[in-house]
Symmetry: C2
Subunit: 334 residues, 2 copies
DNA sequence: CAAAAATTTGCAACCGGTTGCAAAATGTGC
DNA sequence: GCACATTTTGCAACCGGTTGCAAATTTTTG
């Protein structure tokens, strides 16, 4: 069925090497030869088999894209960015869905079988050790949206979650809220832990203010709604820092159902700044996470590792910023 | 770096074929041999190179997943389902993002270079001819969410969009709306055209009722909002069938901004029944599209084509159903 | 227990490419 | 035009596996 190198060589009456060389840039081929080969290739509709060549070159241009966040809308943006950027660089994403049951060991094995050149683990909820399994298997790996660390074991690209928790607290304090709260995502996610830590650290500077905390079961609308409904049964705080935007939307839904007004009765600040936060019906005040930079930088890093496999693990941390919308009361004009 | 067949063969002191056979099911190997080989493989940490073997077997177990819908949240659900299901069948999704600029020819070539076993084109907005390019290149292809046709050129799995348009119209009529309208997605999408056709066909049966139509620029929140804001400047209809759920949410946002009530002042029915439609803050009445069946059936079909490449093109159409929520007035109790 | 049948094993060629090396072709200087 | 340097080309081995075939081994049968 498929046209091979050999077919082209025969038709052009040249050696197989000659054909191979015309399709390899940087190889030594005369103009005359190149034209002859290209003509034959054209006529036969030949295009080289990337996998066969990977066998000798050791490069497949396949990048494993591993994630477990197939229910958080922000990840559609993440996948969009990753796939586009990889394509631009001539790389192909091999997608791995790690949702619930799937065994990590398994994906490592599988991605090795397909000899991916590198792996990007895109998740804020996977344990830090997960990406390490790839590194241990000798596969270049970058953990995107992973935990910032001053001595990372693998390359990490993302935000400083501690800092973002601090930023959220500062934002609430600056707006004059007296009783604030942290409503986190799943408690075992490092992102939740770090945001909580930062939040507490900042609040510790304001002993006169009250703060409390609780956790939702997942980074999801339903979980956020459920948790906020629970909170509203007792005396709620004046403002909440929710674990992420989708949790915030769930919380908002609960608040409005109870007939309360945002931001008058309760304030909300989220994290991520996903497209939906911008929708006029939500208009969520949130902390912007620079997805584009994170994605681009992750890819840059994994590409760099191809040439330099033992590159010293590095943490690339991008700053966040507060995006003012309509779910927090304005700054006192003072 | 990597452990190869040869290494295992040497360590186990057997031929390379023997090793190959222990890792190929259905091959003739004695228990004794298998144990010897497996022991050596274990010790060396060997796992076979899937791409090398694809060279001789002609199967890569790679499936191209091609889409251009990286901004519609429903597609996160679609990707989730596709990746899980493919993984369950031992197949790997190679994701291709066709957003805007990317040239279709290009992706065909690329997917051929990676010798994918088959391709799933998941999109309701791509032209019918797109998937054909794969078929013409001899690659098994299924167009998911494609246009239903009684004489399809490639395998199509999806819903009957004409019928769903009809169903929407019926639903509106049954609820006693006198002036109804179709607010479609992009006019060049086949799904839009077909839904419109069905809508009109049904309305033609009710010459006493008024109906009108218009189109949004994209299947997106912003486009739906913009179009509805425009419609609200003149006298709007009593109820709208919006092209899909995300358009509906945009429309709802516009309606509420204008201080109108849903469903009292204006009714909305969407299409897709994405997770977000279920969110209490939206509670969108919509037509459920059976994503799970469509995905599973698409994969089933593409797998079937592996063994039977010239299988006669088939259209698999799944029925939709209306999901009652809160954006249409109730049925008259009559 | 020997002969026939069935099973297991290894050899060697092949899948579709790449690449080091030496031979052939082309270009340069005098 | 000749000797030498440079570029282009083909040969053949290799990448990591699979597989048809025949030889070797084991099992069955009389």
């Amino acid at each position: 069925m498929a046209v091979t190198l050999k077919d082209v060589a025969e038709r052009a009456k040249v050696s197989r090497s000659a054909v191979s060389r015309t399709f390899t840039d940087g190889a030594s081929v005369s103009e005359k030869m190149r034209r002859k080969v290209e003509k034959a290739a054209q006529e036969l509709g030949y295009s080289p088999n990337a996998l066969a060549s990977s066998l000798t070159t050791g490069r497949t241009k396949l990048i494993g894209l591993v994630s477990n966040n197939f229910h958080n809308p922000i990840f559609l943006e993440v996948f969009d960015r990753f796939t586009r950027r990889l394509q631009d660089k001539g790389l192909r994403p091999l997608l791995v869905n790690l949702s619930d049951e799937t065994d990590p060991e398994n994906s490592v094995r599988m991605l090795r079988q397909y000899s991916v050149d590198g792996v990007v683990v895109a998740s804020s909820t996977l344990p830090t050790g997960f990406a390490k399994a790839f590194r241990d298997a000798g596969v270049p790996v970058v953990h995107s949206f992973g935990r910032a660390s001053s001595s990372p074991q693998v390359h990490v690209v993302g935000i400083d979650n501690v800092e973002s928790g601090r930023m959220a607290a500062q934002t609430l304090v600056a707006r004059g809220y007296i009783e604030v709260a942290f409503m986190g995502g799943p408690q075992n996610a490092t992102s939740t832990q770090d945001r909580f830590e930062g939040f507490c650290a900042e609040m510790a500077k304001h002993p006169d203010l009250k703060h409390s905390h609780s956790f939702a079961d997942a980074y999801s609308f339903e979980a956020g709604r459920k948790e906020m409904l629970r909170l509203l049964e007792h005396k709620p705080a004046q403002a909440y820092f929710c674990g992420d935007d989708v949790l915030s939307l769930g919380a908002l839904s609960a608040i409005k159902d109870r007939g309360l007004k945002v931001p008058e009765d309760i304030g909300i600040i989220g994290l991520n700044d996903m497209e939906m936060a911008r929708w006029e019906s939500n208009s969520l005040t949130t902390i912007h996470q620079p997805i584009e930079q994170i994605v681009n930088s992750s890819i840059e890093l994994v590409v760099a590792m191809l040439d330099e496999p033992d590159r010293y693990p590095e943490a690339r941390i991008f700053p966040c910023r507060v995006v003012e919308r309509s779910t927090l009361r304005p700054l006192p004009s003072s």
